[in-house]
Subunit: 218 residues, 2 copies
């Protein structure tokens, strides 16, 4: 039975979809329109009481929070498709560590840029240029740490691609595209090579292809 | 060899210490004084490039981010001490889900109350009463979801104590103590019973005892 993924048009669910593709797990997508408030509808709140995306349904198992969903599939199907957790407990610890860094250090600032530069103009709210400048500066400092780390190992958790790298894909795609700040990646040699590597994976190219078709027929 | 835990006086490292006690793992604590800027010293930044607490050193293995450290020890010593990850992949998925909820839904608001009500007065910065009111309202909505969840299962991830519950201990201890908002717990029947249960565990009582002695001789 295919895994149902709610809200494929948004960044966090795309993390889950890229992970499912890496693991070779069948899925289907169910659109949720945040602008229409579909995430606050009673049926959706039954699945996700905070009204957030994504949610998956796998038979009668329901799970939310993108990084929890990715960890579940990466562990359950560890030997199928790409191993995304590292080869030892210590490597998995580092995957988890950098996944937490993505969530707590990287994501707040890139999320703020996404809201200010992509979302607000779409709904007629003025962009707060001071907030943009602050987020850009803070994100730059995080990317400076990444630059140092990626000069020591090919990927964030070590010399293996993992959930920690994958989790950066959707929002960094916004950064180099509609947010218009590709320079933040390109001005850092190791971050730039890492971005080319992870965004060039078949799984991510497939996500972008499905998105370009409006998620029809995946 | 005992696990070295940096910064025991602060909330996030206390999560790790409670976890190590539950697992029966020896540890020693190394004080870090944030007010003296010890987290920005070059030696500390070698361990944790973002200058955040906690960090652990276990032989030559270094790991940071409290929830990553807890997952590492809970998995590595799954059969020792209290099992904190659930008994199946699906239960572990729910532990991870509620641990993410703690990090993304619960923690930002209780952290804001901690900064406004505990930290700012200590350093002579005025408390922003509007920010307090907003955080209190948002935290209340999160606790309403917890109240519903805890009417269905004894603990957050199911009928078993897990990392998802444990991770709430340090900041909720502030909430019912120095923050002075115990009513937020006591006005919700199931949340109140859950708090009595998890805060009454030997591991947490030991953390509070060690704290009262200034972390000497643990």
């Amino acid at each position: 039975m295919a895994v149902k993924v709610y809200g494929p048009a948004y960044a966090s669910p795309k993390r889950v979809i890229a992970c499912l593709i890496e693991k070779g797990i069948d899925f289907e997508t169910i659109p949720i329109d945040l602008l229409k408030g579909e995430h606050k509808a009673p049926d959706f709140l039954q699945l996700q009481p905070f009204g957030s995306l994504p949610v998956i349904q796998d038979g009668d198992y329901t799970l939310f929070e993108s990084r929890a969903i990715m960890r579940y599939y990466a562990a359950k199907y560890k030997l199928q498709g790409t191993d995304l957790l590292g080869g030892s407990m210590e490597e998995t610890g580092l995957v988890d560590q950098w996944l937490e860094v993505e969530a707590h250090n990287f994501n707040p600032h890139i999320y703020s840029l996404t809201i200010q530069i992509m979302f607000y103009p779409a709904v007629g709210t003025p962009t707060d240029e001071k907030a943009v400048a602050e987020s850009e500066e803070k994100l730059g400092k995080v990317l400076d740490v990444y630059e140092q780390r990626l000069s020591e190992s090919k990927y964030l958790a070590g010399d293996f691609f993992s959930l920690a790298d994958l989790s950066h894909l959707p929002f960094t795609q916004y950064l180099v595209g509609p947010i218009g700040k590709e320079y933040m990646i390109r001005s850092r040699k190791h971050v730039s090579a890492w971005w080319d590597d992870i965004s060039g994976r078949d799984s991510w190219k497939r996500v972008l292809e499905l998105e370009s078709k409006g998620w029809a027929g995946n």
